[in-house]
């Protein structure tokens, strides 16, 4: 929520920076034989994601997976936003603005510049044109968590104002009818979502989704949209035991062969559609908000009704930490919690029963 100190970016500096970054981006693309265009459908938005270099291309293809429309023509559909990303190592184009080396966040009337040094990245987004540029020194050094959800703050800026809000939650669905699962780290949110996917339910992701808002959306059925098609999961996660087939039961060498080595957190970065074929879907309705809770003593999982205010208390703070459209997001989440029934899901290590709880809620809910 408090995204650090924001400094003023003078308009003339902003313009010069945009020009320098734009020229560097085009130079980088030409050295790689042009941009690789990815038409990413995120809810009502069509994002033109342009990358160059094999590593960034691979990162994007894995992160957005089935959300990429390979046959889509940008001439036929209006583009909601455009993002260009490149790195120096792959393209040989040096730091486009070497004077910007200190970490910080800078804002002009129309643009936001972010500089990061720990996982180096320079981003410049323009709200009036719904465009952004992202420069990375070395695409092979992108952190695993960044690879799972690349460009998230930039996408929040580009897409957050257009009738949708970012929500820190996962979604599980059956035939397009879904429930939204939310809660802080350790609550069991991701495990529940992935256990459901491993058991044959559909999912829109375990961490971030887009929630419809804006004019008219609150009068209709509440809908969410997938934002990323990846998850991070430990090789010893009980989720693997729910999978039939070659990777069921988590034989670690098989997991490593398929998904690569674990990251610094001991997790595999997986493409959901690859680990759980056919289970990643683009959109669903939301018929309940579910707050998983692993901190209880009950022997079997069960759903306990909670008030809308309690659900909002679980959903809002973690989400508001991530978004810049805070008032809009808060209002949209409150509206959702008030519109659908809300439950605490008391999860246990018996994941099959946890999945049954969620499935019965989706099947039998109002």
């Amino acid at each position: 929520m408090a995204t650090g100190q924001v400094s003023v970016l003078p308009e003339n500096v902003s313009n010069a920076l945009a020009e320098a970054l734009g020229q560097a981006a085009e130079r980088a693309a030409s050295r790689q034989g042009g941009w690789q265009d990815h038409a990413v459908r995120i809810g009502p938005h069509l994002l033109r994601l342009r990358t160059c270099g094999p590593l960034l291309n691979k990162t994007v293809r894995r992160a957005f997976g089935p959300l990429i429309e390979y046959n889509s023509s940008f001439n036929d559909h209006p583009i909601s936003a455009e993002l260009r990303a490149w790195d120096s190592i792959s393209t040989g184009v040096p730091h486009p603005a070497p004077e910007w080396q200190l970490p910080g966040r800078f804002q002009s009337a129309t643009r936001v510049l972010t500089c990061d040094v720990d996982h180096p990245q320079l981003t410049l987004s323009d709200s009036t044109t719904a465009t952004a540029m992202v420069w990375i020194p070395d695409a092979s050094a992108i952190a695993s968590w960044e690879s799972a959800a690349p460009f998230r703050p930039v996408l929040d800026r580009l897409l957050g104002d257009a009738g949708t809000v970012f929500v820190h939650a996962g979604v599980v669905a059956i035939h397009g009818r879904g429930v939204l699962l939310t809660g802080p780290g350790g609550s069991g949110k991701s495990t529940t979502v992935l256990a459901c996917a491993a058991s044959g339910l559909d999912t829109l992701g375990d961490d971030f989704v887009l929630l419809d808002d804006g004019e008219g959306a609150r009068q209709r059925e509440r809908r969410t949209h997938a934002l990323y098609a990846t998850a991070r999961i430990r090789p010893d996660s009980p989720v693997w035991s729910l999978i039939r087939g070659p990777i069921g039961g988590a034989p670690e060498q098989l997991l490593e062969d398929r998904f690569g080595a674990v990251d610094s957190m001991g997790k595999h970065l997986i493409a959901i559609d690859e680990a759980f074929p056919g289970r990643m879907v683009r959109a669903s309705s939301v018929h309940a908000v579910v707050v998983p809770n692993a901190a209880h003593k009950e022997p079997t999982p069960r759903l306990v009704p909670i008030s809308a205010a309690q659900a909002l208390r679980a959903l809002a703070p973690t989400t508001l930490a991530l978004t810049e459209a805070r008032a809009d997001a808060f209002s949209a989440m409150a509206s959702l919690c008030a519109a659908v029934p809300c439950f605490e899901l008391r999860v246990t290590p018996d994941l099959r029963s946890v999945v049954e709880c969620v499935a019965s809620l989706i099947d039998g809910g109002p």
Binding site: G4, P184, S264, A308, A316, P317, L320, A321
Partner: protein, 158 residues
Amino acid sequence: MVGLNDEHPSDADANTAYEANSPRVLGETIDSETLLIDSRTGVYFALNVTGSQIWAAFISQPATIDAVATEFARLYDLAPDVARNDVAATVSAMREHELLREAPAMAVSQTPTRASMPVVDRTYEPSSIERFDDLEDLLLLDPIHDVDPDRGWPTARN
């Protein structure tokens, strides 16, 4: 949880008007209960039904404690001193947490003598504010610059 009944009522000047500390404080009311989030400190607050009503009286325009207490007493058929004590203690707590701020002096003369407050079909219970700081670190974490380079959000750098 901060119970307000055992706090001493504020000695605030009856002519002082207060207003919601927006846009710093974000508030949403559902099922007559309110969640307030202070975007500067990362602390959030849950108000019960009566706390929500008192908060609502300050949202759309500045109000004085007396104006809010008058309406509060009418809604719940309370003795004036009971209503004023509850409202004054709530305002005091909200000011302490910087959820309310003093309105500009010129606003006082334009403040109605009876505040506007939502009607709720509930039995009176004293106002309460629950304060939560469990996600304070998370809320204050800059998702770009303050996160652990290896773990990412929501893990803060050491």
